[in-house]
């Protein structure tokens, strides 16, 4: 078996600086390390090597100095190393990088598995892996937390009598917002891994000696048959147009809780803040109702019927109440327009649309879809064009269509197929690719979720266009009409504005909770297209082919230790200050009282006090809850990267110097062991309507 591991050399995140003039990273004086998330990929490759016998080639693109990262991988036990280094490659974006890597993989030759970390801690895009798979035309499984190899599809046998066999199938456990998806795919394939998959080994003296004497192959553009226009800045669809430094400190309120009185005051103040933010209300209409509750109330208000929809789309003019633009469906030749007037189909040449890829979970549309609509509505209005919500699903309910329109979509295009029950990147990408070829959207937005962050880079590679990950701001540039995509980078230490000047569509994933949905208007009218027939025949064949290669076996929802942190409106986190695993119950009790989700710092997860899906920060999850309350977390820069866009941060830490206090809206210098239980008790009492003890009300 031949395994290729792609790695990146990154600067240590806590010391990164950017040059505001050039928009590039100041690398001098920084120690460079192997991207910490790639270490898990290396370790998993080594584990597979030990079990099945394998040759491991480690591959990296970077400056000549990146050879050190490759030698580190060799010292851990990898066999061969290839460094792609050339001035021509400098300044490549993720699209160009994945292209160069793809050429290198082809040159390396036959392989069974490519492993990569889910993303790099500096760029934090996670785009190169899926894009590389797209270039190579192989299946991708992202966010894998476990792998099993089999001799052939479906034969769930282990090593036969301990004798290594040649595996041909990978079964992966993939971490998503809903739980673990179990998928199987054929080799060759590309897998990106999360930290949970393996614990990296340390290089041994023997390994170091091998690594020092081993040859690291160096390939430039010429060796890969690439020209100067194929990589680097000329070969990159995206351009960084602006770099700026966000304000990190929040200048929040600070309380010192050293004694009884201070503790009581702190508990009162936190309680009051939670109350002010509506966290203590138990009625579903409250501001902090869960996404699911939001959906339920929405559907009941909508009271949609099929006739409504038909009538809705017949009235073309009335459908323009958010937008001045004319929306015309594309030529209905191959399309089954479930509801549109013959007259509308004959209107003028359509302006390119703005698309959002709606996010759907097993319970229905996710609220992030409405956030995307809010973003896209502004863009579509600025461009005087229409906004289409694209839904990939086995079938889309009328209420869902109505909701998408109510929240701002001018049209809803449902790609319906039984194949679309679960997210499989290649299958979805194929269908969307075909649709996009047909309708040529100007802009495509998706949520920066495990789905969006896998699908979009795969699609962008197929389109040959740029993609910006995890945007927190989007706007239209005056004059050019280009999409300005602003995102945090380098652990949130800088903000970069990026655009895709010459390629279409312009693509971006958007950080969940970074925008508020519009208030729904259930009088709005829109068009619905149900589109199995939109798929050209050759693409459908392709779809089937790939669908066989990757299939979803099951979905583990609500497994023990799993929490949907990304979707949570309130997160209560604990860190090293809890001292031991058992003390996590203090965090959990408060979270339960509030109806919040439990998070954790890297230290707490590394110590095995709580499982990886709880981890917040650079090597865990990036979240934007309404309330982030953390106790015993010092606020290392890697942790702060994950909570920069939280609306309200409350910190409890006995160390007055802890960096977390500087970014908190309410910083409490005090003992979490005193504060958490009292706060939990206070919240419980308030929720059950029992008046709290007098001594709390100082």
């Amino acid at each position: 078996m031949h395994i290729i591991v792609t790695i990146k050399q990154v600067p240590e995140t806590d010391k990164v600086k950017m040059d505001p003039e050039t928009g590039t990273m100041v690398r001098s004086g920084l120690e460079s390390i192997v991207n910490p998330l790639d270490l898990y990929a290396i370790e998993e490759a080594l584990v597979l090597k030990e079990r099945f016998g394998a040759r491991i080639t480690v591959l990296s693109m970077g400056p000549p100095d990146a050879e050190r990262a490759l030698r580190e991988a060799l010292s851990m036990g990898c066999d061969e190393a290839v460094l792609l280094t050339d001035r021509v490659f400098a300044g490549s974006d993720t699209w160009a990088t994945s292209r160069v890597l793809a050429e290198a993989v082809k040159k390396i030759g036959a392989f069974e598995i490519i492993l990569a970390g889910e993303r790099a801690t500096d760029g934090d895009t996670g785009q190169v892996g899926p894009a590389l798979a797209a270039w190579l035309g192989i299946p991708v499984i992202s966010y894998a937390s476990g792998l099993e190899l089999f001799a052939d599809l479906g034969s769930a046998g282990a090593e036969k009598g301990g004798v290594p066999f040649a595996p041909s199938t990978v079964r992966a456990r993939r971490l998503t917002e809903e739980g673990y998806q179990i998928l199987e795919t054929e080799m060759p394939c590309l897998i990106t891994v999360v930290k949970e998959i393996a614990s990296p080994r340390l290089p041994t003296l023997r390994g170091k000696k091998f690594a020092r004497s081993a040859q690291v192959l160096r390939w430039g553009a010429r060796e890969l048959g690439l020209g100067t226009e194929d990589a680097g800045l000329p070969g990159s669809p995206t351009r960084v147009t602006k770099i700026f430094y966000p304000k990190v400190s929040r200048d929040g309120e600070r309380l010192v809780a050293r004694d009884e009185e201070g503790i009581a005051r702190a508990v009162n103040r936190i309680f009051a803040l939670l109350e002010e933010k509506g966290c203590l209300s138990s009625v579903p209409e409250a501001a902090l109702a869960t996404a699911h509750q939001e959906r339920t109330s929405l559907y009941s208000k909508a009271s949609t019927t099929h006739e409504n929809l038909e009538r809705a789309s017949l009235d073309q003019e009335a459908a323009r109440n958010h937008s001045a633009a004319k929306l015309s469906p594309t030529e209905p030749s191959a399309a089954e327009l479930s509801a549109s007037s013959p007259g509308a189909a004959k209107s003028a040449v359509p302006k390119p649309e703005v698309w959002i890829i709606a996010e759907r979970r097993h319970v229905g549309l996710d609220s992030v879809s409405f956030e995307l609509l809010a973003r896209a509505r502004t863009l579509a209005d600025a461009l005087h064009t229409s906004l289409a919500a694209i839904v990939v699903a086995p079938s889309l309910a009328d209420e869902e269509v109505q909701a998408l329109i109510a929240y701002g979509a001018d049209s809803v295009i449902a790609l319906e197929s039984l194949n679309f029950d679960d997210f499989v990147c290649e299958t979805w990408a194929d269908a969307l690719f075909a649709l996009a070829r047909e309708r040529k959207p100007d802009i495509v937005l998706a949520a920066a979720t495990t789905t969006g962050r896998t699908l979009m880079p795969y699609l962008a590679a197929k389109f040959g266009t740029g993609l910006t990950a995890d945007c927190t701001e989007l706007a239209i540039e005056e004059g050019t009409g280009l999409l300005l995509q602003t995102r945090p980078a380098i652990g949130g230490n800088i903000m970069a504005t990026i655009k895709t000047p010459k390629h279409k569509p312009q693509m971006a994933t958007v950080r969940p909770h970074s925008a508020q949905p519009l208030s729904p208007d259930f009088e709005r009218k829109g068009i619905v297209l149900r589109t199995q027939a939109l798929q050209p025949a050759e693409s459908r064949a392709g779809t089937q082919q790939i669908a066989v290669r990757t299939r979803v076996l099951s979905m583990e929802r609500n497994t023990k230790g799993f929490e949907n942190l990304e979707g949570a409106r309130m997160v209560v986190s604990g860190g090293r200050g809890l001292k031991k695993a058992e003390n996590f119950k203090l965090v959990r009790e408060l979270a339960d009282a509030l109806g919040a989700v439990v998070g954790a710092s890297r230290e707490a997860v590394d110590r095995g006090w709580i499982s990886y899906p709880h981890q917040v920060g650079l090597s865990g999850k990036t979240i934007s809850p309404e309330i982030y309350l953390c106790a015993g977390i010092s606020g290392a820069i890697q942790h702060l990267a994950g909570i920069r866009t939280a609306k309200t941060i409350i910190s409890i830490n006995s160390d007055p110097e802890a960096p977390i206090h500087a970014v908190a809206d309410l910083a409490v210098v005090g003992d979490l062991f005193e504060i958490l239980p009292r706060l939990a008790e206070r919240v419980r009492s308030a929720k059950t309507g029992i008046s709290t003890e007098g001594n709390h009300a100082l």
């Binding site: 240590e12 120690e31 910490p36 614990s199 340390l202 041994t204 003296l205 020092r212 590394d606 110590r607």
Partner: protein
């Protein structure tokens, strides 16, 4: 002879000398000055007043006042000591140097720095790092401790085998004598035999001879490269036997840290570290540093080879910060890991001839078994300075602990004395170990110490009740 109490009149005088804002009387604020890092309930004692002077002149005036009025005076830095040295056992005045933290001069020609002793030691290195320099005399508790405390205790730390201890880097002192006189001792001199070496008498005197208000410290070139080795051995004997082999080859590691099996297991379990330590009886953590990365790498490799020749099970190499942090985390978290097991402990810093370390381990096991406690052993193998830590069984009552702790300590000190060791290598005697000085120091030597004390501080006002007792009580 009796000490006097701090009166209203004294407080008024202190306010005149140091300014009213620098005189603390609020019991809530005084509490912070009543203890150090030793067990609060065993050793803490409240001061009557705390003064935070901002100049040497003010310090001298306060000392003069205390000397005249026979009021006990306890100098204090960051309060991170481990011997009770900064605890005002007789009450009186605590003189905290926290506001005397200015850098007076950085002399790049002579590679010295003149700083007030209230500076946080870690700050010194932040200030000169960009110039490629560093102050090598800093101990392990580098984030909080102050230079003044390091000087008082002659702090050591993990890098002593290559860089020595604090005293090597103290070239001169601005010193306030117990009579309240200000004097400069030493200077920017590499050699100085002009009279007794008073600078190095004061370094390590635990604040009993006077107060060092500023120091001329020596700076050296910052080693740019370092490489760490974590070496797994089957037994402590095998681990320790490597140390002279390495040193005799002219290889001088920056640190050779020893961890016994119990320390490794507890720390690794606490950190969830998955190193294969199952067959490991002891570990060494060896750090090489230097200017040239290639040279450091080759020296580290040579050290690793020697360890393998001596029977090491495995050698892990860390030459970047990520892996280095991971290795050092094991060593640094031992104390914290045992605190989670049981917070009641007595952290010792015995020192033995380096070759005697293997012989210490069975003694520790014997004492632990005898008293029903746990004694992990880790520390600086290169210089024989071990943190044998007495850890209470979580089930044991505090009553029993208080009964057996002195007996166990006695047994420990007895054992290490027989091995040619001493009771403290870097933490100092202070309050905590003075009773054992009588037993483990020859009467002649002890009397020489006392004679110096009486000669310098006839009224016995400077940090009384530390290191040894002299005839004086509370008035």
């Amino acid at each position: 002879m009796l000490y006097n109490r701090v009166t209203e009149e004294i407080i008024r005088e202190l306010a005149v000398i140091a300014g009213a804002r620098n005189v603390l009387l609020d019991p809530a604020k005084l509490e912070a000055y009543s203890h150090d890092e030793t067990s609060k309930e065993e050793y803490a004692h409240m001061p009557e007043v705390v003064v935070t002077p901002e100049s040497t002149v003010a310090v001298a005036a306060i000392v003069k006042l205390a000397n005249r009025a026979h009021i006990p005076l306890t100098p204090r830095g960051a309060g991170s000591g481990l011997s009770g040295g900064a605890i005002p056992v007789f009450g009186g005045i605590v003189i905290s140097l926290e506001k005397m933290n200015h850098v007076r001069e950085i002399d790049y020609e002579n590679l010295t720095m003149t700083v007030e002793t209230g500076i946080v030691t870690n700050e010194i290195n932040n200030l000169v790092k960009d110039k490629g320099l560093f102050y090598a005399g800093y101990p392990m508790s580098l984030e909080t401790c102050m230079l003044g405390g390091n000087i008082a205790e002659n702090a050591g730390g993990g890098k002593a085998i290559k860089y020595g201890v604090t005293s090597r880097y103290i070239l001169g002192l601005e010193f306030v004598t117990p009579a309240g006189d200000i004097v400069w001792l030493g200077g920017k001199l590499a050699k100085d035999v002009t009279g007794y070496d008073l600078v190095h008498l004061i370094v390590g005197s635990e604040g009993t001879l006077g107060i060092a208000t500023a120091a001329i410290i020596k700076l050296i070139g910052l080693p740019a490269a370092k490489s760490d080795l974590l070496v797994l051995f089957r037994s402590p004997q095998e681990a320790i036997s490597c140390v002279p082999v390495i040193l005799s080859k002219g290889l001088i590691p920056t640190a050779i840290e020893f961890m016994d099996r119990r320390s490794v297991e507890t720390s690794c379990a606490y950190l969830n570290e998955n190193l294969p330590y199952a067959q490991c009886g002891a570990m060494l953590l060896i750090e090489m540093d230097g200017r040239d990365p290639a040279l450091v790498e080759s020296e580290a490799e040579a050290v690793g080879d020697l360890c393998m020749e001596q029977g090491a099970i495995e050698v892990y190499v860390a030459d970047n910060r990520t892996t280095q942090e991971r290795l050092w985390a094991i060593r640094r978290n031992i104390a914290e890991a045992f605190k989670v097991y049981c917070p009641v402990q007595s952290l010792e810093d015995i020192v033995v001839p380096p070759a005697s370390i293997p012989a210490v381990i069975p003694e520790l096991d014997r004492i632990a078994a005898q008293f029903g406690i746990t004694i992990p052993c880790y520390g600086h193998a290169g210089d024989g300075n071990l943190h044998a830590t007495l850890v209470k069984d979580p089930e044991m009552s505090m009553e029993d602990w208080h009964r057996i702790e002195p007996q166990a300590l006695e047994a420990l000190y007895e054992a290490i004395s027989k091995l040619g060791g001493k009771i403290s290598g870097e933490h100092g005697i202070g309050l905590k170990r003075k009773e054992y000085m009588k037993r483990f120091m020859s009467p002649v030597e002890l009397e020489l110490l006392k004679a110096i004390k009486r000669a310098w501080d006839p009224n016995l006002i400077m940090n009384p009740g530390k290191m040894f007792d002299l005839e004086k009580g509370i008035g």
